[in-house]
């Protein structure tokens, strides 16, 4: 069941890959095609169906680039 989603602020992300490593559900990837305004590879949210809104990626993003949303009414 889908529980939530994240949004990644592309102006803040530095492409360090820590969120990709820490998400145990494989919801995030670093894409070489998408670069931030300062030329860093950007993290992007994939596998949206698997996100549990656990917030681990947001806690351990050093650049405060991730916000986590929990679905309250999935009808």
């Amino acid at each position: 069941m889908v529980k939530g989603e994240i949004s990644i602020n592309e102006a803040l992300c530095k492409g360090c890959g820590l969120c990709v490593y820490h998400c145990s559900r494989g919801c995030i990837t670093l894409s070489a095609e998408k670069l931030s305004p300062s030329g860093m590879p950007l993290a992007s949210f994939i596998n949206a169906e698997k996100c549990t809104a656990c917030c681990v990626c947001a806690w351990l993003c050093p650049d405060f680039a991730i916000e986590v949303y929990k679905y309250t009414d999935v009808s």
Binding site: V2, C16, G17, L18, C55, P62, K70, T72, D73
Partner: protein, 255 residues
């Protein structure tokens, strides 16, 4: 599923006591995560109106821009002295210093030890990344034995440059200290433990018990010459082998 139709609630974002200023550190540096630890604890304790953050001459200097509460950047190694002055003039303020391993362990060691000896009611947060990141990676007091830096090109040798400084253990041995712990933010569980340690440290100060101290092992990927993800392994395999995690002192009275 129609994603537009769901109602959603934001459950995790930047803490209120963090300004919108972007973090100025290198990709994968743990300092941003430690800012989150401190600011989340301050939000949860509701002490943002009373807290004063003193940053030091290290990569953590610009944290004063990130703190949405009173803060100041101190002369090199002197934040415990500035903290002492602020605390004595405003005894109800909750004063903490953030210091790098060079700032606390080298130039500021005397100032720090004297503040401990005086049992000041301060909290110090030490950022231990084993190197002088700001000036390009020289050996610092906490550099591991055998670790290569720009000033120990063959690796640190104790016969030439001595042994690494174990700050949390040293602090725990001092009479004026109420709390001393070492933590990391390299896994989600350790992130939560670090929050508990910082909260306990602030509480010891609020209760007027004595000095409280939290050391963070923190990654510096560019200077260590590893990727941000490899740096996590360096912390768990190398740093934690030299610097064990845990609480070294937790007392309710220093007498």
């Amino acid at each position: 599923m129609n994603r537009e139709a769901v109602t959603k609630e934001k459950i995790c974002t930047a803490p209120k006591s963090k300004t919108g200023m972007p973090i100025m550190h290198c990709p994968g540096c743990h300092y941003g995560i430690i800012i989150r630890v401190i600011c989340e604890v301050i939000d949860e304790m509701g002490i943002e109106g009373d807290v004063v953050g003193l940053t030091s001459v290290s990569c953590s200097g610009p944290w004063a821009y990130s703190f949405y509460f009173d803060s100041a950047l101190c002369p090199h190694g002197r934040s415990p002295a500035m903290g002492t002055a602020i605390k004595r003039i405003h005894p109800d303020a909750i004063v903490f210093t953030v210091q790098g391993d060079g700032d606390l362990g080298a130039i500021g060691l005397g100032c720090f030890m004297n503040a401990l000896l005086r049992a000041e009611k301060l909290t110090t947060i030490l950022l231990n990344n084993g190197t002088y990141g700001m000036t390009g990676g020289q050996m610092s007091p906490t550099t591991l034995l055998g670790m290569r830096t720009t000033t120990t090109s063959e690796g640190r040798d104790y016969r030439v440059t001595g042994f690494p400084l174990h700050a949390a253990e040293l602090v725990a041995s001092m009479k004026g200290v109420a709390y001393s712990a070492r933590c990391t933010v390299h896994t989600p569980a350790n992130f939560q433990k670090a929050k508990r340690a910082v909260r306990t440290a602030f509480q010891k100060q609020i209760d007027g018990v004595g000095y409280s101290f939290v050391e963070f092992l923190s990654a510096c990927p560019p200077i260590w010459g590893v990727s941000p993800v490899e740096a996590l392994k360096f912390i768990s395999e190398k740093m934690m082998a030299e610097y064990p995690l845990g609480e070294f002192k937790n007392v309710d009275s220093i007498l």
